[in-house]
Subunit: 93 residues, 4 copies
Protein backbone atom coordinates (compact mmCIF):
# COMPACT_ATOMS: atom_id res chain seq x y z
CA UNK A 1 0.00 0.00 0.00
CA UNK A 2 1.26 3.47 -0.89
CA UNK A 3 0.17 7.02 -0.34
CA UNK A 4 -1.61 7.13 -3.69
CA UNK A 5 -3.35 3.75 -3.40
CA UNK A 6 -6.72 5.28 -2.47
CA UNK A 7 -6.70 7.38 -5.64
CA UNK A 8 -4.96 4.86 -7.88
CA UNK A 9 -7.72 4.70 -10.50
CA UNK A 10 -7.85 8.51 -10.74
CA UNK A 11 -4.04 8.69 -11.21
CA UNK A 12 -4.15 5.98 -13.89
CA UNK A 13 -6.85 7.95 -15.73
CA UNK A 14 -4.84 11.19 -15.53
CA UNK A 15 -1.72 9.47 -16.83
CA UNK A 16 -3.71 7.99 -19.74
CA UNK A 17 -4.92 11.49 -20.58
CA UNK A 18 -1.34 12.85 -20.49
CA UNK A 19 -0.24 9.96 -22.75
CA UNK A 20 -2.97 11.14 -25.14
CA UNK A 21 -1.64 14.70 -24.93
CA UNK A 22 1.85 13.49 -25.88
CA UNK A 23 0.41 11.48 -28.78
CA UNK A 24 -1.42 14.64 -29.82
CA UNK A 25 1.91 16.51 -29.79
CA UNK A 26 3.43 13.81 -31.99
CA UNK A 27 0.54 14.22 -34.45
CA UNK A 28 0.88 18.02 -34.43
CA UNK A 29 4.59 17.87 -35.29
CA UNK A 30 3.93 15.14 -37.88
CA UNK A 31 1.28 17.35 -39.54
CA UNK A 32 3.56 20.43 -39.41
CA UNK A 33 1.47 22.41 -36.92
CA UNK A 34 2.59 25.96 -36.13
CA UNK A 35 5.50 26.00 -33.61
CA UNK A 36 3.72 28.22 -31.11
CA UNK A 37 0.66 25.93 -31.10
CA UNK A 38 2.95 22.96 -30.40
CA UNK A 39 4.61 24.90 -27.58
CA UNK A 40 1.22 25.76 -26.03
CA UNK A 41 0.38 22.04 -25.91
CA UNK A 42 3.80 21.19 -24.46
CA UNK A 43 3.13 23.69 -21.64
CA UNK A 44 -0.30 22.12 -21.03
CA UNK A 45 1.20 18.60 -20.84
CA UNK A 46 3.97 19.83 -18.53
CA UNK A 47 1.42 21.41 -16.19
CA UNK A 48 -0.68 18.22 -16.18
CA UNK A 49 2.42 16.17 -15.26
CA UNK A 50 3.30 18.60 -12.48
CA UNK A 51 -0.24 18.39 -11.10
CA UNK A 52 0.12 14.59 -10.93
CA UNK A 53 3.47 15.02 -9.15
CA UNK A 54 2.00 17.48 -6.62
CA UNK A 55 -0.87 15.07 -5.92
CA UNK A 56 1.50 12.11 -5.43
CA UNK A 57 3.68 14.22 -3.16
CA UNK A 58 0.76 15.29 -0.94
CA UNK A 59 -0.43 11.66 -0.70
CA UNK A 60 3.13 10.56 0.08
CA UNK A 61 3.55 13.11 2.90
CA UNK A 62 0.08 12.35 4.29
CA UNK A 63 0.72 8.59 4.36
CA UNK A 64 4.31 7.32 4.08
CA UNK A 65 6.03 10.32 5.72
CA UNK A 66 3.33 10.73 8.39
CA UNK A 67 3.49 7.00 9.18
CA UNK A 68 7.29 7.05 9.54
CA UNK A 69 7.12 10.21 11.68
CA UNK A 70 4.55 8.73 14.06
CA UNK A 71 6.83 5.68 14.49
CA UNK A 72 9.81 8.02 15.03
CA UNK A 73 13.50 7.14 14.96
CA UNK A 74 16.02 7.36 12.09
CA UNK A 75 13.48 6.00 9.55
CA UNK A 76 11.43 9.19 10.03
CA UNK A 77 14.45 11.43 9.32
CA UNK A 78 15.24 9.37 6.25
CA UNK A 79 11.70 9.66 4.88
CA UNK A 80 11.77 13.45 5.36
CA UNK A 81 15.15 13.75 3.61
CA UNK A 82 13.88 11.57 0.76
CA UNK A 83 10.68 13.62 0.34
CA UNK A 84 12.67 16.88 0.44
CA UNK A 85 14.98 15.62 -2.31
CA UNK A 86 11.92 14.72 -4.44
CA UNK A 87 10.48 18.23 -3.87
CA UNK A 88 13.82 19.77 -4.92
CA UNK A 89 13.90 17.70 -8.13
CA UNK A 90 10.34 18.81 -8.88
CA UNK A 91 11.04 22.51 -8.25
CA UNK A 92 14.14 22.37 -10.46
CA UNK A 93 12.51 20.43 -13.32
CA UNK B 1 7.57 24.86 -43.47
CA UNK B 2 8.24 25.66 -39.84
CA UNK B 3 11.23 26.30 -37.64
CA UNK B 4 11.42 22.66 -36.60
CA UNK B 5 10.95 21.16 -40.08
CA UNK B 6 14.65 20.37 -40.52
CA UNK B 7 14.67 18.31 -37.30
CA UNK B 8 11.16 16.92 -37.62
CA UNK B 9 12.18 13.25 -37.48
CA UNK B 10 14.31 13.86 -34.38
CA UNK B 11 11.38 15.64 -32.64
CA UNK B 12 8.99 12.81 -33.55
CA UNK B 13 11.44 10.29 -32.08
CA UNK B 14 11.83 12.31 -28.86
CA UNK B 15 8.04 12.62 -28.47
CA UNK B 16 7.66 8.84 -28.97
CA UNK B 17 10.21 8.30 -26.22
CA UNK B 18 8.32 10.67 -23.88
CA UNK B 19 5.08 8.83 -24.70
CA UNK B 20 6.90 5.66 -23.61
CA UNK B 21 7.97 7.39 -20.37
CA UNK B 22 4.34 8.27 -19.62
CA UNK B 23 3.24 4.70 -20.37
CA UNK B 24 6.00 3.58 -18.00
CA UNK B 25 4.56 5.88 -15.32
CA UNK B 26 1.12 4.35 -15.87
CA UNK B 27 2.60 0.87 -15.41
CA UNK B 28 4.48 1.94 -12.25
CA UNK B 29 1.31 3.29 -10.63
CA UNK B 30 -0.64 0.24 -11.78
CA UNK B 31 1.95 -2.06 -10.18
CA UNK B 32 2.01 0.02 -6.96
CA UNK B 33 5.57 1.29 -7.32
CA UNK B 34 6.99 3.34 -4.46
CA UNK B 35 5.74 6.99 -4.59
CA UNK B 36 9.24 8.50 -4.66
CA UNK B 37 10.26 6.28 -7.59
CA UNK B 38 7.15 7.42 -9.48
CA UNK B 39 8.01 11.06 -8.69
CA UNK B 40 11.58 10.61 -9.97
CA UNK B 41 10.18 9.38 -13.29
CA UNK B 42 7.68 12.26 -13.44
CA UNK B 43 10.60 14.71 -13.04
CA UNK B 44 12.51 12.92 -15.84
CA UNK B 45 9.50 13.10 -18.20
CA UNK B 46 8.94 16.78 -17.32
CA UNK B 47 12.58 17.60 -18.10
CA UNK B 48 12.37 15.70 -21.41
CA UNK B 49 9.24 17.69 -22.37
CA UNK B 50 10.95 20.96 -21.44
CA UNK B 51 13.98 20.04 -23.54
CA UNK B 52 11.65 19.52 -26.54
CA UNK B 53 10.03 22.90 -25.84
CA UNK B 54 13.42 24.67 -25.62
CA UNK B 55 14.47 23.09 -28.91
CA UNK B 56 11.24 24.11 -30.66
CA UNK B 57 11.61 27.62 -29.27
CA UNK B 58 15.18 28.01 -30.54
CA UNK B 59 14.15 26.72 -33.98
CA UNK B 60 11.16 29.08 -33.95
CA UNK B 61 13.28 32.14 -33.12
CA UNK B 62 15.94 31.14 -35.66
CA UNK B 63 13.40 30.72 -38.46
CA UNK B 64 9.90 32.21 -38.04
CA UNK B 65 10.88 35.16 -35.81
CA UNK B 66 14.10 35.86 -37.73
CA UNK B 67 12.19 35.74 -41.03
CA UNK B 68 9.50 38.16 -39.78
CA UNK B 69 12.17 40.47 -38.34
CA UNK B 70 14.12 40.62 -41.59
CA UNK B 71 10.88 41.54 -43.41
CA UNK B 72 10.15 44.17 -40.72
CA UNK B 73 6.88 45.96 -40.03
CA UNK B 74 4.07 45.13 -37.58
CA UNK B 75 4.30 41.37 -38.38
CA UNK B 76 7.78 41.34 -36.80
CA UNK B 77 6.52 42.96 -33.58
CA UNK B 78 3.66 40.49 -33.47
CA UNK B 79 5.98 37.47 -33.84
CA UNK B 80 8.21 38.77 -31.04
CA UNK B 81 5.22 39.32 -28.73
CA UNK B 82 3.93 35.83 -29.55
CA UNK B 83 7.31 34.18 -28.90
CA UNK B 84 7.67 36.11 -25.61
CA UNK B 85 4.25 34.91 -24.46
CA UNK B 86 5.27 31.31 -25.26
CA UNK B 87 8.50 31.76 -23.26
CA UNK B 88 6.48 33.12 -20.32
CA UNK B 89 4.10 30.12 -20.42
CA UNK B 90 7.11 27.81 -20.44
CA UNK B 91 8.87 29.53 -17.54
CA UNK B 92 5.68 29.46 -15.48
CA UNK B 93 4.78 25.82 -16.24
CA UNK C 1 10.11 28.20 17.74
CA UNK C 2 9.88 27.23 14.11
CA UNK C 3 11.36 24.62 11.84
CA UNK C 4 14.14 26.96 10.76
CA UNK C 5 15.04 28.28 14.22
CA UNK C 6 18.12 26.05 14.55
CA UNK C 7 19.56 27.46 11.31
CA UNK C 8 18.23 30.99 11.70
CA UNK C 9 21.63 32.70 11.48
CA UNK C 10 22.52 30.76 8.33
CA UNK C 11 19.20 31.75 6.68
CA UNK C 12 19.71 35.40 7.63
CA UNK C 13 23.17 35.31 6.06
CA UNK C 14 21.85 33.71 2.86
CA UNK C 15 19.07 36.30 2.57
CA UNK C 16 21.62 39.13 3.05
CA UNK C 17 23.65 37.64 0.22
CA UNK C 18 20.56 37.47 -2.03
CA UNK C 19 19.77 41.10 -1.15
CA UNK C 20 23.30 41.89 -2.34
CA UNK C 21 22.66 39.98 -5.58
CA UNK C 22 19.53 42.07 -6.21
CA UNK C 23 21.46 45.29 -5.48
CA UNK C 24 24.08 44.03 -7.95
CA UNK C 25 21.33 43.58 -10.56
CA UNK C 26 20.16 47.14 -9.92
CA UNK C 27 23.71 48.39 -10.47
CA UNK C 28 24.11 46.32 -13.66
CA UNK C 29 20.93 47.79 -15.18
CA UNK C 30 21.92 51.26 -14.00
CA UNK C 31 25.31 50.91 -15.70
CA UNK C 32 23.72 49.53 -18.90
CA UNK C 33 25.19 46.02 -18.63
CA UNK C 34 24.53 43.63 -21.50
CA UNK C 35 21.00 42.09 -21.30
CA UNK C 36 22.23 38.49 -21.29
CA UNK C 37 24.64 39.19 -18.42
CA UNK C 38 21.76 40.70 -16.43
CA UNK C 39 19.63 37.62 -17.20
CA UNK C 40 22.40 35.27 -16.03
CA UNK C 41 22.47 37.08 -12.68
CA UNK C 42 18.66 37.01 -12.43
CA UNK C 43 18.80 33.20 -12.88
CA UNK C 44 21.47 32.96 -10.17
CA UNK C 45 19.38 35.03 -7.72
CA UNK C 46 16.27 32.97 -8.53
CA UNK C 47 18.14 29.73 -7.84
CA UNK C 48 19.49 31.12 -4.56
CA UNK C 49 15.93 32.07 -3.49
CA UNK C 50 14.63 28.63 -4.42
CA UNK C 51 17.43 26.97 -2.42
CA UNK C 52 16.33 29.02 0.64
CA UNK C 53 12.72 27.94 0.02
CA UNK C 54 13.68 24.25 -0.26
CA UNK C 55 15.65 24.49 2.98
CA UNK C 56 12.77 26.17 4.83
CA UNK C 57 10.38 23.55 3.48
CA UNK C 58 12.53 20.64 4.65
CA UNK C 59 12.89 22.22 8.10
CA UNK C 60 9.14 22.86 8.17
CA UNK C 61 8.27 19.24 7.33
CA UNK C 62 10.88 17.90 9.77
CA UNK C 63 9.56 20.04 12.64
CA UNK C 64 6.10 21.64 12.33
CA UNK C 65 4.51 18.96 10.12
CA UNK C 66 6.20 16.08 11.97
CA UNK C 67 5.11 17.53 15.31
CA UNK C 68 1.48 17.91 14.17
CA UNK C 69 1.49 14.40 12.70
CA UNK C 70 2.79 12.82 15.89
CA UNK C 71 -0.03 14.59 17.81
CA UNK C 72 -2.54 13.38 15.18
CA UNK C 73 -6.08 14.62 14.64
CA UNK C 74 -7.41 17.27 12.23
CA UNK C 75 -4.46 19.62 12.96
CA UNK C 76 -2.14 17.09 11.30
CA UNK C 77 -4.27 16.97 8.13
CA UNK C 78 -4.36 20.76 8.07
CA UNK C 79 -0.56 21.07 8.35
CA UNK C 80 -0.10 18.56 5.50
CA UNK C 81 -2.58 20.44 3.27
CA UNK C 82 -0.86 23.72 4.10
CA UNK C 83 2.62 22.34 3.31
CA UNK C 84 1.34 20.82 0.04
CA UNK C 85 -0.10 24.17 -1.02
CA UNK C 86 3.28 25.83 -0.30
CA UNK C 87 5.06 23.17 -2.38
CA UNK C 88 2.61 23.77 -5.25
CA UNK C 89 3.23 27.55 -5.11
CA UNK C 90 6.97 26.87 -5.20
CA UNK C 91 6.77 24.45 -8.14
CA UNK C 92 4.63 26.92 -10.10
CA UNK C 93 6.75 29.99 -9.34
CA UNK D 1 22.19 51.09 -25.80
CA UNK D 2 20.49 47.82 -24.91
CA UNK D 3 17.10 46.24 -25.37
CA UNK D 4 15.93 47.46 -21.97
CA UNK D 5 17.26 51.02 -22.27
CA UNK D 6 13.83 52.49 -23.07
CA UNK D 7 12.38 51.03 -19.87
CA UNK D 8 15.48 51.40 -17.72
CA UNK D 9 13.82 53.52 -15.02
CA UNK D 10 10.92 51.06 -14.74
CA UNK D 11 13.36 48.12 -14.36
CA UNK D 12 15.36 49.99 -11.72
CA UNK D 13 12.15 50.65 -9.78
CA UNK D 14 11.09 46.97 -10.00
CA UNK D 15 14.51 45.79 -8.80
CA UNK D 16 14.34 48.24 -5.84
CA UNK D 17 10.97 46.77 -4.95
CA UNK D 18 12.37 43.20 -5.12
CA UNK D 19 15.31 44.30 -2.93
CA UNK D 20 12.67 45.50 -0.44
CA UNK D 21 10.91 42.11 -0.66
CA UNK D 22 14.19 40.33 0.18
CA UNK D 23 14.79 42.72 3.10
CA UNK D 24 11.24 41.93 4.23
CA UNK D 25 12.10 38.21 4.12
CA UNK D 26 15.19 38.86 6.25
CA UNK D 27 13.03 40.70 8.79
CA UNK D 28 10.43 37.90 8.80
CA UNK D 29 13.07 35.25 9.57
CA UNK D 30 14.69 37.53 12.14
CA UNK D 31 11.34 37.99 13.90
CA UNK D 32 10.59 34.23 13.73
CA UNK D 33 7.64 34.47 11.35
CA UNK D 34 5.76 31.28 10.57
CA UNK D 35 7.60 29.11 7.97
CA UNK D 36 4.68 28.98 5.54
CA UNK D 37 4.32 32.78 5.60
CA UNK D 38 8.03 33.10 4.80
CA UNK D 39 7.63 30.59 1.94
CA UNK D 40 4.69 32.54 0.51
CA UNK D 41 6.86 35.67 0.38
CA UNK D 42 9.76 33.73 -1.19
CA UNK D 43 7.37 32.58 -3.96
CA UNK D 44 6.22 36.18 -4.49
CA UNK D 45 9.82 37.45 -4.77
CA UNK D 46 10.71 34.59 -7.15
CA UNK D 47 7.76 35.45 -9.39
CA UNK D 48 8.71 39.14 -9.37
CA UNK D 49 12.28 38.24 -10.40
CA UNK D 50 10.99 35.98 -13.19
CA UNK D 51 8.72 38.77 -14.45
CA UNK D 52 11.77 41.06 -14.69
CA UNK D 53 13.66 38.31 -16.56
CA UNK D 54 10.78 37.78 -19.02
CA UNK D 55 10.61 41.53 -19.67
CA UNK D 56 14.37 41.78 -20.26
CA UNK D 57 14.22 38.77 -22.57
CA UNK D 58 11.40 40.24 -24.67
CA UNK D 59 13.27 43.56 -24.94
CA UNK D 60 16.45 41.68 -25.84
CA UNK D 61 14.77 39.70 -28.64
CA UNK D 62 12.97 42.80 -29.93
CA UNK D 63 16.19 44.83 -30.07
CA UNK D 64 19.54 43.03 -29.91
CA UNK D 65 18.43 39.76 -31.56
CA UNK D 66 16.24 41.52 -34.14
CA UNK D 67 19.09 43.92 -34.97
CA UNK D 68 21.59 41.08 -35.44
CA UNK D 69 19.08 39.11 -37.53
CA UNK D 70 18.39 42.03 -39.84
CA UNK D 71 22.16 42.38 -40.39
CA UNK D 72 22.41 38.60 -40.98
CA UNK D 73 25.55 36.47 -41.03
CA UNK D 74 27.15 34.42 -38.24
CA UNK D 75 26.53 37.20 -35.64
CA UNK D 76 22.78 36.58 -36.03
CA UNK D 77 23.16 32.83 -35.36
CA UNK D 78 25.32 33.60 -32.37
CA UNK D 79 22.74 35.99 -30.88
CA UNK D 80 19.98 33.41 -31.32
CA UNK D 81 22.08 30.68 -29.65
CA UNK D 82 22.92 33.06 -26.80
CA UNK D 83 19.27 34.04 -26.27
CA UNK D 84 18.19 30.38 -26.38
CA UNK D 85 20.74 29.49 -23.72
CA UNK D 86 19.41 32.32 -21.52
CA UNK D 87 15.83 31.04 -22.01
CA UNK D 88 16.97 27.52 -21.03
CA UNK D 89 18.66 28.83 -17.85
CA UNK D 90 15.46 30.69 -16.99
CA UNK D 91 13.18 27.70 -17.58
CA UNK D 92 15.44 25.49 -15.45
CA UNK D 93 15.85 27.97 -12.59
Amino acid sequence: MHGYSGDKQAYLKRLRRIEGQIRGLHRMVDEDAYCIDVLTQVSAATRALQAVALGLLEDHIAHCVAHAVSEGGPAADEKIKEASAAIARLVRS
